[in-house]
């Protein structure tokens, strides 16, 4: 039995609403939490929920990358970075809260105002779908002969872009190697917060 189009559309809206609500709840919880471990885990959940939302927008390639990089690697790297620092966030200064709140309100209002001018989802006449995007869709079967247009754009039409991105990743790895040291005797040394805190406590006058 196939569901009727109306039922499918209603289910899609419900799924989108549920995902966006969960994203909102996770974001609020990340703001409220002071435990860095919980925040890192919540950011992983946030990425996974975004990936699910991208799937519901039919952007599977983006969803795939978000799930792999955002929910996978980022979480692990943040955990690894967290091991080098303290476990709890320091309490913020409450005096600055009104200024920050007003700034956030203004930026949020500007974003909402800008979203009014955005084209409707899936609008064929929108700039993203019209000019060069339309050319890619029309030309890929003749020029590249490849079923996945995303790959054709990424690796062939915009191969030079992707080469730059690969160089950026290479440079990032190189920078980490240079900063944290590769194979040097200092590279594997454990950094402990506890001993440092104790050391500073023993010297209160310093």
């Amino acid at each position: 039995m196939t569901p009727s189009p109306g039922f499918a559309a209603a289910a899609g809206v419900l799924i989108d609403l549920a995902l966006l609500t969960l994203l909102f709840i996770v974001a609020i919880q990340m703001l409220r939490s002071r435990q860095l471990f919980a925040i890192v885990m919540l950011s992983g959940i946030y990425s996974l929920l975004s990936a699910a939302f991208f799937v519901s927008l039919d952007a599977v390639d983006v969803a795939f990358t978000e799930a792999a990089v955002g929910a996978g690697i980022s979480t692990v790297l943040m955990l690894a970075a967290m091991l080098l620092t303290v476990r709890r966030e320091k309490p913020g200064t409450p005096g600055r809260a009104p200024v920050a709140f007003i700034a956030v309100l203004i930026v949020g209002a500007a974003l909402v105002y800008a979203s009014i001018d955005m084209p409707a989802f899936g609008d064929g006449a929108s700039p993203a779908n019209a000019y060069v995007g339309q050319q890619y869709v029309e030309r890929t079967p003749d020029e590249i002969a490849m079923p996945n247009i995303v790959t054709a754009v990424l690796a062939s039409y915009r191969g030079f872009d992707t080469m730059g991105e690969t160089m950026v990743i290479f440079t990032a790895g190189l920078a980490v190697m240079l900063l944290l040291g590769v194979g040097s005797p200092r590279g594997g040394r454990a950094v402990r917060d506890v001993s440092r805190d104790e050391a500073s406590r023993r010297r209160p006058s310093a």
Binding site: F37, V60, D61, A63, F64, T65, A68, V69, G72, I73, V76, L77, L79, A80, A81, L83, L84, R87, E143, I144, A145, M146, P147, N148, V150, T151, A152, L154, A155, S156, G159, F160, T162, M163, E165, T166, M167, I169, F170, A172, G173, L174, V176, M177, L180, G181, V182, G183, G187, G188, R189, A190, V191
Partner: protein, 148 residues
């Protein structure tokens, strides 16, 4: 650590090969479905990162030494730029893959070019992610049990 987390260690042993296989599937199936070098590289790195989280980074470093990673990082980028240089040497623009098979009627050059370039991307991404993980995590031997 050795005798603890028995379930994690068994699950890791079961999952390691399928994760690597999935990485290669994503790598070489990018022409036909979602995926490509970036995602495949990350998935490939994830298999080793999981290994490092459960068995300790020292064991992972024995299986995949940093020297190999440094080489893979550079070879991946060289594969990409080398393909670009090759198409230029063959008399076309940078990364104009049709130069690789000029007489093909179904753009075999594009297929080969994209396959090689994506493989280079995958190598660089996987090696870089693992390098960053090694360098961050080798400063502390493992996640302590009270942090779970």
């Amino acid at each position: 650590m050795r005798d603890e987390h028995l379930i994690l260690r068994v699950v890791m042993k079961v999952l390691f090969a399928p994760i690597i296989l999935f990485a290669f599937y994503v790598q070489f199936h990018g022409d036909y479905g979602p995926g490509g070098g970036f995602q495949a590289g990350v998935i490939f790195a994830v298999a080793f990162i999981l290994h490092g989280l459960i068995y300790g980074v020292a064991a992972t470093k024995r299986a995949m030494p940093q020297g190999v990673l440094s080489a893979l990082m550079s070879i991946g980028l060289l594969l990409y730029t080398g393909t670009g240089a090759l198409t230029m040497l063959l008399g076309r623009n940078l990364l104009a893959y049709d130069a690789l098979a000029p007489n093909s009627t179904h753009h075999a050059g594009q297929h080969w070019g994209i396959l090689i370039v994506e493989f280079g991307v995958g190598m660089t991404v996987a090696a870089t992610m693992l390098t960053i993980f090694y360098h961050f995590s080798s400063r502390e031997p493992e996640i302590r049990d009270e942090d779970w």
